[in-house]
Point group: D2
Chain length 359, copies 4
Amino acid sequence: MRGNTFGRIFQIHTYGESHGAGIGVIVDGCPAGYTITREEIQTELDRRRPGQSSLTTDRQEADPVQILSGMLDDVTTGTPIHMFIPNKDARSKDYGPLAQLYRPSHADFTWQNKFGIRDPRGGGRSSARETAARVAAGAIARILLVQEGVAIHSWVTQVGPIAMKHQPEHPDRSLIDRHPVRCPDPETAREMNDYITQLKEAGDSTGGVIMTRVTGCPPGWGEPVFDKLHADLGKAILSINACKGFEIGSGFEGVAWKGSEHNDQFVDTAQGIRTTTNHSGGIQGGISNGMPIEFRAAFKPVATIRKEQQTVDKDGHSVQFSGTGRHDPCVVPRAVPIIEAMTALVLADHFLRQKTSKR
Amino acid sequence: MRGNTFGRIFQIHTYGESHGAGIGVIVDGCPAGYTITREEIQTELDRRRPGQSSLTTDRQEADPVQILSGMLDDVTTGTPIHMFIPNKDARSKDYGPLAQLYRPSHADFTWQNKFGIRDPRGGGRSSARETAARVAAGAIARILLVQEGVAIHSWVTQVGPIAMKHQPEHPDRSLIDRHPVRCPDPETAREMNDYITQLKEAGDSTGGVIMTRVTGCPPGWGEPVFDKLHADLGKAILSINACKGFEIGSGFEGVAWKGSEHNDQFVDTAQGIRTTTNHSGGIQGGISNGMPIEFRAAFKPVATIRKEQQTVDKDGHSVQFSGTGRHDPCVVPRAVPIIEAMTALVLADHFLRQKTSKR
Amino acid sequence: MRGNTFGRIFQIHTYGESHGAGIGVIVDGCPAGYTITREEIQTELDRRRPGQSSLTTDRQEADPVQILSGMLDDVTTGTPIHMFIPNKDARSKDYGPLAQLYRPSHADFTWQNKFGIRDPRGGGRSSARETAARVAAGAIARILLVQEGVAIHSWVTQVGPIAMKHQPEHPDRSLIDRHPVRCPDPETAREMNDYITQLKEAGDSTGGVIMTRVTGCPPGWGEPVFDKLHADLGKAILSINACKGFEIGSGFEGVAWKGSEHNDQFVDTAQGIRTTTNHSGGIQGGISNGMPIEFRAAFKPVATIRKEQQTVDKDGHSVQFSGTGRHDPCVVPRAVPIIEAMTALVLADHFLRQKTSKR
Amino acid sequence: MRGNTFGRIFQIHTYGESHGAGIGVIVDGCPAGYTITREEIQTELDRRRPGQSSLTTDRQEADPVQILSGMLDDVTTGTPIHMFIPNKDARSKDYGPLAQLYRPSHADFTWQNKFGIRDPRGGGRSSARETAARVAAGAIARILLVQEGVAIHSWVTQVGPIAMKHQPEHPDRSLIDRHPVRCPDPETAREMNDYITQLKEAGDSTGGVIMTRVTGCPPGWGEPVFDKLHADLGKAILSINACKGFEIGSGFEGVAWKGSEHNDQFVDTAQGIRTTTNHSGGIQGGISNGMPIEFRAAFKPVATIRKEQQTVDKDGHSVQFSGTGRHDPCVVPRAVPIIEAMTALVLADHFLRQKTSKR
C-alpha cells in the first residue's frame, strides 16, 4: 500500500534510507534454476554509482552488494533473494540544517505532509540512492531475459538543449559507456560534456532525455487493458526520481501525423510477421508485436544546485538556501542503468505472466 | 494477472467485448455512505459515447448503464457496485472478413499471439468500447473527490498540427463542452473542427494532445517510491487506447532548462505553504504538494481509416484492406471524459491509501 | 480491500445481494483455450440451489446462469468471464421487520458496525446466496483440473451427532448424490435424514461435517511459507458461511499421536515416490506430495430457526424474534458443491502459480 | 506469487534460509508515528527462540534482531522497516547426508518437486527458523493493537493426550510463561512436562493444541466475503509449520448442537450491544462483534525424531534414517509466540483496512 513493491510475479520489495544502515531489495518470484554471480550484479551497480567521472557527484560510494538469501552456489532456488548494500560514506552531518527547511523541488515538504515525520538525513528514502536497489534487482531480471534472447539498451540522447541527430541502429553497451555522458555519438557526447562541466562550475544543473531500445522481445507480452506493456513501462520509468515524461514509438510527435502515414504495415518475413515501419514502438494494443520496443524518458534539471535560492522553513518563514552536498549537475548519465533495470523488471514480469495466458 | 483490474483500495474490475452481450465494471472498495444517482453516472457516459457530433463516429450507442448491486436508495453500501452496459447496436456482420486479416496498427496480430484465439467481432475486448466501463467507474470515484474539494478538468489542446496557444486559467466543463471538439478556445476549436472534417472526407485520421488540470488536491497524496502519484497517473493514462505519451509539469520541454530556472520556490500563503511557479506539475517526490496537478497526454492518429492499406492475413499472405466500420477520424474529443475518469480513479485510490499512512 | 476477490492468477471477483438484481462473478485469469458449456456450469449450480429436496429450503430458485463475456463458441478467450445469476424469487417483503433488529448469530449487527449501513433484504450480501457465484466460478476452475487429472469429491460425514463410521475408498458423485443428504453411506444417510426432518418439524436446526478428498494432484503445488496449500484451502473453506473449523490429514486427532506413529514413510512406487500412510493429508511443508489431499470442515447449526428467540433491536431494546423465512434446517448437504468449488478455485490457482516456479 | 508476503495494508515480506546468512522481514505499511524499541521486539523473539528450557531444542540461537530501516529515534516513519536476524549457530555440517534423502513428513520431497532444487542445509527455508521473522513483525503489529486496546493471549491447552479441563478466564503472559510448557494450569503443565521429557528420552515426539483469546477488539473488523476475519486468521495460523487444524468458537464440537442452543443472544450492556454466550467466537459473518475472539490450533507431532525410520533417497532407494540434529520433542510451547504474532498481523491489517470502509 505504501508503494515499495513492484511487479506481479517477478516482484521486488525495496527498503532503506540514504543515511541509515543501508538499502536493499528482496527479489521474490524469480524462478528456480537461473545462474547469476554476485559479480554480474555488482557490474550493474557500478554503472549506477556516483563518482564515476567528473560529470557525476564526487561521492565515492563503493556500493558492494551482499546476497543474503535465495541462492545456492550461484543458482536461484525459487526463494526470496535478498540483496543488501550497506551505506558506507554517509557523512550525515552535511545535512543537519536541512531538517528545518523545505528544499525547492525536493520531496521534503510533501513527505512531511504525507507522514507527519521525515528522515532529513540526505533526504531519507526520497534520495535517489534508493534506485541502487532497483539496479541490483534488475540485474537478476536481466538473466531471465537474456535466456529468451531479449536485449535492453538505453542511452542519453539529449542533455539540456544538446540533442543527438540520429539514433544508432545497433546500440551496444561498449559504445554507450565509451564516454561518461553515455551518449553513443562521440561528438555530441563531447558537447554534452562541455555543457555539463560549464553548469557545474556555475553551480547550476540541467536535465535530459534517455532513449531505450529493446530487441528480441517476442510477440505476445503485455496484458491488453490496464496492464498494457507500455503502460507498465511508463509507470516503471516515471517512478524514477526526476522523470517528468514518457513516450513510446511516435510519442508526442506522432499526434500531428495522419493515420495513413502512421499505421505500421504488416509483412511476412523470415522471422515471422513483422511491420515495415515501427511508429507503434514495438507494442500494439498493449502487447509486444515482435518489433523493437522503443521509448524515451524526460528528466528534469537536478533540483539540488549550489546557486542560492529562496525557500521557507517548516514554520513558513522565508529563508535563503544553497545546496552544499555532493550532487550531479545532470542526472541522465547515471539514470541510464536505472532505466535499463526498470525495463528489465517490467519485461521479466510480463514474460512470467505470459506463461499463464493460454492452455 | 490479466490486467483487467485497476486500483488498490478503490479498485475496479472490467469485463466485456465490443460485440458480446455488453461491457461492465465492478467498483470494489468504494466506502459506504456516499450518495450518487444513476443519472450522474449516465451523464459521464453520455460524454464518452460516439455519435455526439459529426466529428465522431455515427454509431448511436445509447449506453444506458444499469446498476445491479452495491447501492441502496442511491447510497453506496460498501459492497461491490456492479454496472452493466448492454451492447445494443452491435451489427457484428460488419466485421466478418476481419477475422482473417491483421489490421495495421490494431491489436489483432498481438492478441492472436498472446492468447492463440481472439474474438474478431469489432476487435473484441481490444475495442475502445471497453473504456465506457472506466468512465462509469470514474463517475463514482469523482463523488469521493468532490467531497474533498478536488476538481478534474481535461480538454483538447492539440489536434493534428493545430495547437492552442494559451491554456485557460480556470477551465470548466461548460467551456470545454461548448464545442464538440472539446477545445475551450473557440477559434482553435473551429480550426480543429475544419481539419477533422477534411480528414474524414479524405478517409484519413489524425491524433491530438489532451491537457488535464486537477485543482484542490491537498498535499500528501501519492506514495514515494514505485507508486508515485504521477507514475500511477502515467500508467492510468497510457493504458487508454491510442495513448503514446504522458508528461507532467514541465515534461519534455523542461529538460532543456537550468535547475535555477526550473526549481519551484516555496512561499507561505493563506492556503498554507505553496510554490510561486508550478514546473513540478503539482507533484514532488511522487507526492502531491497542494498546487494544481497538470499533465498532458499524446494520442496517435486513429488506426482505422477508409483509405486502402496493405497488410497480411493470418497465413502471412499479402492483402488489401480498407476500414469500412463506423470510426472516429480523431479520438481526442471522446478521450477527454476517459482521461478525467482515469484521473479520478487514481486520485480516489490515493485518497483512501492516505488514510492509512500515519497514526 | 473489501474481500470480494479470491485467487492470485486464477482470480474471481463476486458481487451482488440476496434481494437485489442478482449476483454474479467475474472469472479473470482463466487461460485461453479451455472448452466449457453453459450447461456444465448450470449443472454445478443446480447442485447448490435450494429446493432440491424436503431437507432443504422450499425456495425454488432456478438460478439460471448467464455467460456475458470471455467465451467464444464455448471456448475461453483469456478475457474476463462474467457470469450473472438474476434474482428471480426474491419476495423481499418477507424480511421487512428484520431491518429493525439484529438476528442472533447473523451478520446484521456486525455489518451495521462495519459499514454504518446495511441492506436488510434477506441479509443483503451476507446471505449464503452469494455462494452461488463461487459455485459458478468453481465449475470453470474444475475444467482446468480435469485436464490435469485432478478430481475433487466432498461428502457429508456428520450431521448433528450422527457420523459415518468409515469413509469411502473411492467416492464418486453418483454415490454421494444418491441421497439428498449427500452422505455416501445409505444407512447413515437415512439416519441423518430422519434427524434433519425431526429438527425441521421442531423449528430447530443443526450443523455437520464435510469430508473432502482430492485425487490426482501431482507433487509440487502450493507455496512454502504463507501460501501453503492447506493454508489457502483453509481460508477458502473457512470463508464459506457457517464454517467454524478446518483440519487436514490427521487434524485435531493427530495431536495426541507420537511422531513415530504419525510420520508418513516414503516408498518408491510405479507412480513415483509416495507414502505408505497419509496422515499428512497429501500436503507436506505446504506443498502437495502426490497423495490424496484430505480435509474436513465443520459447519455450525443454521442460525435461522422458527423457534422463538430473544434479541435486541438497533436501539438496544429487547425484542422477541422467530425466523419466518424459508431456510434449511441443516446447511451441509448444500455446502458440498460449495466446498468442491472453493477447492477447485484454490487448486486451479496453484496449478497456474506452479507454471512460474522454475526455469 | 511465491507466498513470502502476508497482509494487505500492514504487509510483511520474509526471506532467508535456516543455514544461510540469516533471516529477515520487511514490515511495509506500518503507519508513521508509532513508537517501538528494539528491546520490545527482542523480547518477543526471545520467547520463540530454542534453548529456553530442557523441553525445547538445545540450540542456543541468540537471535539478536537488527533494525536496518524505517525507524527514526524509535518512531516509525512510514517507510519499510527491515529487520534482520543473522544466523549465528549454523553448524551446517550436521545436515550433510540429508541432501541425499527425503526425511519422512518433512518438506524435502515436495520442495524438490516444486523447484527442482533445494537448499538441504537444515531444511533451508522450510525450517521453522523462518517463523522468527513473523515474530519480529508481529511485535510491531502488536503496538498498533495495544493503542486500540486489543490484547492477544495464546497458551498450550493440550500436549499429546494431556489436556486442560478449564480455560482461564483472564489469561495473562506471566501466568502462561510461568512454566516453560506455556500451559497456565500448573498441575496440567507439570503433567505435560513429564510427558514431553519421557518422549525426549525415547527419541520420540508429540503434538498439541494451542488456544488463543483476543480481547478488546471492537465490532466491525473483518471483511464479509472471502476475507472473513476468521478465514484470514485460519490461513495465518495454518501457515505455521506443523499446524494441521484450526477452529473458532464452538468449532468441530458445535456441529452436533442445535441452533436453539448454539445461537448467541444479543443484549444491551454498558459496553454496547454484546452477546450472552460466545459460541460464535467473537466473529459473526466474518466480522468481529465485540466479544472475545477465541480459536484453537492443532499441531502435529514433530517430524524429526531420533528413532530409526524407513524412507527413500532421491533415486527412490530404500534407506534407514534417524534424526540427529537438535530438535524439540514438542513444538507447541514455542508455537505460542508465533500464533500470537500471526494473530497480531491479521488484526493490525484489518484495523487499517477498516479505516477505509465508510465515508
